[in-house]
């Protein structure tokens, strides 16, 4: 269905009941109707009926984190995910953002989907000086906005040395149960290479041959969730080609997994790609989702830690994966899982949101960090690099740094019997 036919139908599904309000992070912050899902849908309806995209309207669409908490909360099955994607695409097409905003967006989208460029950031800000972007950046104040996040990344990245390169194939231990492809992700690969290594090891120990294609690129998640659909389609086609030969594609970054599950829709109007996209989406699994489907085989060794599990929006809301990571963690002897209050409310990371809307992102980060601290856990566990950076940064700001780990790293430590020191040491 094309957007002009699809939009009115999707908008008509909303019965204005307001059940989505309390889990919307921007409504939690500001308590205003137009910064709630119901209000944004109302704004979309106004636009649909001919109201032009005014700066006021666009401001409320831009403020949406795309966290999809509203999709989970809605009893009427409103597809807000689709609505905001269509709206963002429309905003990209029709509404000129200010020069400063455009420069910021260019900088962000010229950076994140490209692992090589990201790598350059590991020596702080080198990229800017090299690329000549620094002049634009200084003029627009982008640096001030980007630098706190860069600083967080820098703090979080493993201290020294190059990221270990994963081999193209890791063989199953014990009898082989499956052959799976693994997506390495842009941010994950450059800033959390340990997570990818742990993912590959866990899959292998559970009896999977793991195929890790060297030439894989960005899956297109950031572009897709920001209304840059053509760019997203380019990334999607490439990813489909790369992974066409494996039965299952395991993804350990929530944002990437959710966008790959959306390829079917993204390429539905492209006759040459529709079927291939659908097949790929159907074969995509989040790591935890897949491990639970597969069933545990490798023995778990005790790991005496208390962890707080954080629901990444793109895992819980976009993919409906909530119970699986908890089940995997609970299956580890001597490990205690604590729940974080208000689990449905986003941490403010939301893809590029913390770069494009730093104020509200920081406030949401602070709220989440306070709830994480209240659990009294030793380690924060989350399955998305963005969340980990965002919350760790906020915890640092509050002077309460905490160790952070991906579900894969915790499992890895247990399967290998490494004990609680086996994963990333606390930040200082």
């Amino acid at each position: 269905m094309s957007a002009p036919e699809e939009l009115p139908k999707l908008l008509g599904d909303c019965v204005h009941c307001g059940f989505c309000l309390p889990t919307c992070p921007t409504y939690v912050l500001w308590g205003e109707e137009m910064d709630s899902p119901r209000g944004r849908i109302h704004l979309m309806q106004q636009h649909q009926r001919g109201e032009p995209l005014s700066p006021a309207m666009v401001q409320h669409f831009d403020a949406c984190l795309g966290c999809m908490a509203c999709v989970t909360a809605c009893p009427s099955g409103v597809q807000y995910d689709r609505l905001i994607e269509l709206t963002r695409a429309e905003v990209e097409r029709e509404h000129p953002h200010s020069a400063a905003d455009r420069a910021l967006r260019r900088a962000v989208f010229g950076l994140f989907p490209y692992p090589r460029r990201l790598r350059a950031l590991r020596g702080p800000l080198r990229l800017y000086q090299r690329s000549g972007l620094d002049k634009v950046v200084r003029r627009t104040g982008v640096l001030e906005r980007l630098s706190p996040s860069l600083a967080a990344m820098e703090r979080l990245a493993p201290p020294l040395g190059r990221a270990p390169r994963l081999p193209e194939r890791v063989s199953a231990r014990g009898g082989r149960r499956a052959t799976v492809g693994m997506l390495t992700g842009c941010v994950q690969r450059e800033f959390f290479p340990g997570v990818n290594a742990a993912t590959a090891r866990v899959l292998a120990m559970e009896g999977c041959d793991v195929v890790i294609p060297r030439n894989q690129g960005c899956c297109g998640a950031l572009s897709l969730h920001s209304g840059r659909e053509d760019e997203a389609r380019r990334f999607a086609r490439r990813t489909i080609e790369t992974f066409e030969n494996v039965d299952v594609i395991v993804v350990n970054a929530a944002g990437c997994g959710s966008s790959m599950k959306e390829y079917a829709r993204l390429l539905a109007d492209d006759p040459a790609w529709a079927a291939r996209a659908e097949a790929l989406s159907a074969r995509t699994r989040d790591l935890a989702e897949y491990l639970v489907e597969l069933g545990p085989r490798a023995p778990r060794r005790p790991l005496p830690v208390t962890v707080a599990y954080h629901d990444a929006c793109h895992l819980a809301h976009a993919q409906g994966v909530r119970s699986q990571p908890r089940a995997l963690l609970a299956g580890i002897p001597e490990l205690t899982v604590r729940e974080i209050a208000d689990p449905d409310v986003c941490c403010g990371s939301a893809g590029t949101y913390n770069l494009l809307q730093p104020g509200p992102a920081a406030e949401l980060g602070d709220r989440k960090a306070a709830n994480v601290r209240a659990t009294g856990a030793d380690v924060l566990v989350a399955a998305n690099p963005g969340c980990v950076m965002q919350i760790a940064d906020a915890l640092g700001r509050q002077g309460a740094p905490m160790a952070v780990a991906h579900t894969a790293e915790i499992l890895d430590a247990s399967l290998r019997g490494l004990g609680p020191d086996g994963f990333r040491t606390p930040l200082s």
Binding site: C17, G18, L21, G77
Partner: protein, 484 residues
Amino acid sequence: MGEALTRLAERFTALLGADSVITDPVRLRTYECDGLTSHRATPGVVVLPGTAEQVAAVVRACVAEGVPYVARGSGTGLSGGALPRTDGVLIVTSRMRRILDIDIPNQRAVVEPGVINLDVTRAVRDQGYHFAPDPSSQQVCSVGGNVAENSGGAHCLKYGFTAHHVLACEVVTPDGEIVELTAGGPGYDLLGVFVGAEGTLGITTRITVRLTRLPETVQTLLAAFDSIESGGAAVSAIIGAGVVPAAVEMMDALSIEAAEAAVRCGYPPGAGAVLIVELDGPGSEVAHQFAEVERLCRAAGAFEVRIAAGDAERALIWRGRRSAFAAVGRISPAYLVQDGVIPRTSLPKVLARIDALSAESGVRVANVFHAGDGNLHPLVLFDDAEPGATERAEEVSGAILDLCIEHGGSITGEHGVGVDKSRYMPRMFTDTDLDTMQMVRCGFDPAGLCNPGKVFPTPRLCGEAPGVRKGVHPLVEQGKADLF
């Protein structure tokens, strides 16, 4: 924007700061309706105060300009109670959402009006308490809205409505004074008048609510019947036996179909009606009564009885019921939620009449009800794209209310009158009744600026066109009313 509103917007900005005043038309329009979308009006100005003093200052400014104002909580009302005035101010409490005090030994909590109903329970559940009124909208509606609508829920059969759980309200009166209304003191029960007044007697800015102990045990069963009649007979038998269930809910075949489509609740196939009965209280008492309820259901003709083995199974049983309103959207492009009350014993008769109405008009009606207290929620289905369908649905919906009145019931059980049902008030009350109610209203709001146009069919007596009243009020002059 009229001149008075322009002046007010400037005044509000000075009082509350620019980020608490909305004047942009596109933004204003997002406030044009509450949960009832068939009535819409873009407010003149929206303000988002943070304190009682700010609410009072806003109200005083409105009064000085003779501009009407309306309070709004979470905007989930189903009778258009929070419908704004284009020539007025909408006062939204969504930023007044602090829980100010929790006093477990005295079983009370003090909250601001924008606090969400379920958040009160969430804050005290670990200590073994809850806020008992549980409207289906509890995860979003505000306590202020609950007070205004005297909201209830599935468990109000045993625990009572909001009115039974409010101990005091701080209120900004329609002339901008801040007063405290408390329950149980000597003199007139003004709190009793205020709760359920649908925001027409002032704006509450702080509410002291009663906290209730969580029951020791809860037992839930789902009974499937061939027909509504046999389900209704079971309800009468249960209540007749002296059992006070925490909840008794019934759904008919059409609403079961909708719930299955939405949440796959897995109710017994082929049921013409299902009954959900929940008992709570001390373990031994519940166990004894529960066996009795099960026996009575079977005796009335239940062909299947399922007993929830734990919280997960209980949640599954409730899921179908709780989703019913929204779920109807899956089997019909549009629908009206009706809310009426009948004596429990008239249930089979009234339902048969609704069936007949539906057959005559070709308009489908799904029935969901709080069967224990005779509160019906017929869902009238229609296709809004079909010419004339909306009108036909409204006609059927109105006829159902006539049925309720005819059987000695009421035109609303818990959703309020608002704008939607004001026209039915004369069918239930005589002119004298309505005049008496208006006199009470005039006592609080002589200028008629506080949520005007709601509850009463036509502005009568003091309630005519809003404007500042100069001189002595005619009712006072006639000795008919006093000013508080």
